[in-house]
Symmetry: C2
Subunit: 640 residues, 2 copies
């Protein structure tokens, strides 16, 4: 019987030898490979998920590894022992990157001008009442006395009660002289009793706002009694291992069992981020009684386990736009089992709940006089033009370049990402890293700055080619082609050179080109020109701060008065949070979806022309960018 | 290693020897002991449930044996192997007795005079619509097009859809040119989509009416498209092994795990009966989209898994009277997982949903002029007096004697039960057995006939003692005391003498006494006398036909004009069925519960006096029974 076995680790292609019975997580640690695990190998956190690609391992069952995921070849490394030669795929390090911050500044900055209602009046309530004891003369049932008291003390009509709560009702109203805390959720015209707690309540009343993006997912915990954001956690969508964009995920889902896998991965992503958010916020996951999700149409379908295939087959029709309310326990979300899940409604297959929710956190819906443009540059780009009275929308396949996908040096706006770059005339490069420390890569705003800096200082020509002479010692050539050295190996987090390759640049230009050409075409379609826009609201995963000047220099944004631009960050998340806060916002976001006119760009004849023209810095039609044009004299660099 | 082991079977106290590894079901068959099994030992029907009282057996896990039941020591005999000496408790044969009949005659006989609405307009609908295909110009989602079509073709507003149905929506509307069958259930002001079927629909739309009694449970399948009853199945409540009456079940539930056991047994009882009903009706359990349950307050609590302890602690308050709607899948009922379960509401701890539902199937609520008495003599006796404008109710602890419990020769009205008895002057005894064949015992109506016959012909004195001389060769004495031989061993189903013991007689007299004294007291409380009653409606598990003359002779019913009496059979089941049939009935039964005045007999001063006076045949106050009195001359038998 052999005593040692070889294990090859993918995607690193490194092979190591281990004794029979070695724990796989220990083996990975010994091999010096990155794999997260926060439960100390107890099999409960579910973070050390790997896929066994070859060989058979002894895998202990674990509550953190659902059977349907195990069947697909996944295992928790900490629950696995090496008993023969194996090939094991580890998650890409990005899938493990998570950033949690306490609180949020968005509403301190924006609360006065959002469309959504900024009031704390959610559809879930925590109320304390004192239920009178039953007597032989008032022999009303426990439920009846509670309902009566809720109406008498709080004016709420509690018409229904969940089966789970009935089970603890008799005991609850007989403890502590009938002092109970009831959790109610609005359902139709009345309220439904979803939980009972002893008094004083041991639990908080919280909500989870979740922006489920194709690349990144953000979970935010809000206290539903005062509206405070308690914590925000960002991480990669674990579905990334099944494809980088919505189209590849839809294709992936076609094989048997794969739709279930994608649904499980979506839920696992949210559960992992929510767990961290809860820990940061100091609450229990059981305190979360309402979940507000905003995601594009494909992400929403996958979260609900709905076949997304017709989203990419003409005429591109989703199962539903307005999503019926579901219970968290039906989806497998690790929050209070009675929690309701609201998914922001879609307008169509390519304008989803991230956009309808996003609009809530812009002022667009408040004003009938002004006409605004809303740009959400996520993995898919979506645009909305309109005001309180009308809204038109379209989508474009932007690609995830500004969210950290599709480029070698890109990262979402997580800890370790460069969020701002300046290049001096002499070529010195300075940058700011989120959370400080050594850089892991660049997030969207950093990439925009870098690209603009390279263009302005003559490192790039208008077609995005590197000027090899000017780049000098920053020019890198390796097996993957030519690139610009952002930071040397010893000073980078991963100990590898941080390089912006020409391929990365091409991808970034394609992305900005797709967004700009879609703007131009949508305006043309409506019969407006850029200068008729009163405001431009920009959202997306760029990072905390997008430099609008730089975005205009590379031709991502139109060349308008700078004060018309407002960078709002992650509006999808903000919108999901606004839905948590107030019933009116839930009504509003549902109403928005019904009101928007969807324009299919692929059906527009001028589309390819517009797009091709946008594949230059800033554009082939330089007349569209007068503030950039004045620098563009022959033989002269922009920084001269 | 020993090769053979002794197994003692309880309650039979018979011990047999078996080889190691013998299957326990085979062993029971070899021992000639009765145990049902319909799946052929595959472990799927769950009928061969036994309890291992001593020793350890090897038990295979089985889907038909929930883990929580296994932990309590239960096993499926067919999945168990003998590996050491065992003591095994088999269910009492009655627990296995099941009777299934196709159709029901109740409504042919009673449809013109019930209070409930006899129309087929249930809260579940099956509709066929043709969903237009999506196009680039009509890009409404699948759900939207379906909702629009349902409204257009059927006028129904479908506002919600269950998560489970969303998963099959996209495929369903794209097959067969959009022809789909939708199942909708009324929820609040609108309808909820609970299922989709291809066209033509493969399934039926059925409902399950269930009378869950303390002793017997009846399940009835109705076609919800035309209202027809497809089959009716009667069996024992499997909770019987945990106690015969509600008080002993409530006490049983106090120990840890026992409440769960009782809930599981209730669900298993319904599932077993429903499965047989489905088979008889030729439908699938998945075709059942609505369940209407009527049971007393304790049975309803136990079915829902609610702690019943406060039902028997002063001031006797249940968790709830009006039961919130639950889903069948939440309870573990083996019907369509989206099926809604309606439980008929209670008035209080001792007047439950069996009575409110039962009133629907009487004419009491239709008339304001007449005052009627409703008697439901189940394991608990409940009485209602009133009319359309007012209703007063009370309960008495009757005991299960007329339902086959608490007597040695008693049986519910199942196949093999004697339902009618006549005794000639010369002492010849003739009887009719349900389903023909050899008798197993007597059901309520048979016991009433027998008791009255024995009394009228002088075999019993007024205190219920057997006249040993007159009984002659019918007199039996054995270890269990003195009794009257109803049928000799060879002519009885079980091959044992069928005997009515003096103890049985005492029990029957106590039961009839409790009911009669409660009637007298309730009337007194309201200020009425027996002769002011315009009608008496009698319900209960007596059997198909109750001989009113005989019931008056033994003092069970008051001595009024015979035409005032109407024997209605199982009104609880009929009421549950009426709730299935129409939304109005659901509203009506919920309204009844709120309207009834509950009178607590135990708090009445005259209670014990009334009861003691009723412990004679027919009563100590013979003046109350003039039609019986005229026969009661000294030295003269009633049949002289």
């Amino acid at each position: 019987m052999r005593k040692a076995f070889k294990v090859e680790f993918l995607p690193f292609r490194s092979t190591h030898s281990f004794a029979r019975g070695t724990n796989l997580l220990d083996a990975i640690r010994k091999a010096g490979l990155p794999l997260k695990s926060t439960c100390g190998g107890k099999g409960t956190c579910g973070e050390c998920l790997v896929r066994i690609e070859g060989g058979e391992a002894r895998i202990r069952t674990s509550a953190a590894l659902p059977e349907e995921v195990r069947r697909l070849g996944y295992a928790l490394a900490c629950q696995t022992e090496i008993e023969e030669d194996l090939t094991v795929e580890l998650p890409r390090f990005e899938e493990q990157s998570i950033r949690t911050v306490a609180g949020s500044r968005f509403f301190e900055e924006h609360r006065d001008r959002i469309s959504g209602v900024f009031e704390v009046n959610p559809v879930v309530r925590k109320i304390q009442v004192s239920v009178p004891a039953a007597t032989l003369s008032d022999n009303s049932s426990d439920l009846r006395r509670l309902q009566r008291q809720i109406h008498k003390e709080k004016g709420l009509r509690c018409l229904q009660a969940e089966h789970r709560v009935l089970k603890k009702l008799a005991a609850a109203v007989r403890e502590k002289e009938g002092e109970v805390t009831a959790i109610l959720v609005k359902t139709g015209p009345g309220w439904t009793l979803v939980d009972l707690q002893p008094n004083p309540p041991s639990k908080n009343l919280c909500g989870l706002a979740c922006d489920i993006g194709t690349t990144t997912v953000v979970c935010e915990i809000a206290d539903l009694e005062d509206g405070r954001v308690l914590s925000t956690t960002t991480g990669f969508n674990q579905q990334l291992r099944c494809g980088e964009d919505v189209i590849s995920r839809i294709d992936y889902a076609r094989r048997p069992g794969r739709l279930q896998e994608l649904q499980t991965l979506a839920v696992q992503t949210i559960n992992a981020l929510a767990e961290k958010s809860c820990r940061e916020a100091g609450i229990s996951s059981d305190d979360i009684y309402y979940v507000s999700v905003a995601g594009n149409t494909t992400m929403t379908h996958l979260l609900l386990g709905l076949d997304p295939r017709f989203i990419r087959e003409e005429p591109y029709i989703p199962t539903m736009n307005l999503v019926p309310m579901v219970k968290a326990s039906d989806l497998g979300l690790n929050v209070n089992p009675e929690a309701r899940v609201h998914c922001a409604p879609a307008v169509g297959s390519y304008v989803g709940g991230d956009i309808t929710a996003g609009l809530l956190s812009t002022p667009i819906l408040r004003d009938a006089e002004k006409t605004s443009l809303f740009i959400d540059a996520g993995t898919n780009g979506e645009l909305v033009i309109g005001n309180r009275d009308w809204l038109a929308t379209c989508a474009c396949s932007a690609g995830p370049a500004f969210e950290g996908g599709g480029t070698k040096c890109g990262l979402p706006a997580i800890e370790g990402a460069i969020e701002a770059v300046t290049i001096s005339k002499s070529g010195d490069l300075a940058y700011r890293v989120i959370g400080g420390g050594k850089p892991k890569g660049l997030c969207g705003s950093g990439l925009v700055d870098l690209l603009a800096g390279l263009f302005v200082h003559g490192y790039l020509d208008r077609s995005g080619k590197l000027d090899q002479e000017r780049a000098g010692k920053r020019l890198v050539r390796n097996g993957e082609g030519t690139g610009f050295l952002v930071e040397k190996a010893p000073r980078s987090y991963w100990g590898r050179d941080l390089i912006l390759t020409e391929k990365d640049i091409t991808n970034l230009i394609r992305t900005k080109g797709a967004i700009f050409s879609a703007c131009a075409l949508l305006l043309k379609n409506i019969g407006l020109t850029f200068d008729q826009l009163d405001a431009v609201y920009i959202a997306g995963g760029f990072g905390q701060h997008l430099d609008v000047d730089n975005a205009i220099r590379i031709g991502l944004l139109p060349d308008l008065d700078r004060e018309k631009f407002h960078y709002l960050g992650n509006t999808s998340l903000s919108g999901a949070y606004l839905v948590l806060l107030s019933e009116k916002n839930r009504e509003l976001v549902n109403a928005i979806a019904g009101k928007m006119t969807y324009i299919e760009l692929n059906a527009e004849p001028g589309y390819m022309n517009e797009y091709t023209g946008s594949l230059f810095l800033p554009h082939t039609d330089i007349g569209l960018f007068p503030s950039v044009k004045k620098f563009l004299r022959p033989g002269k660099r922009l920084d001269d």
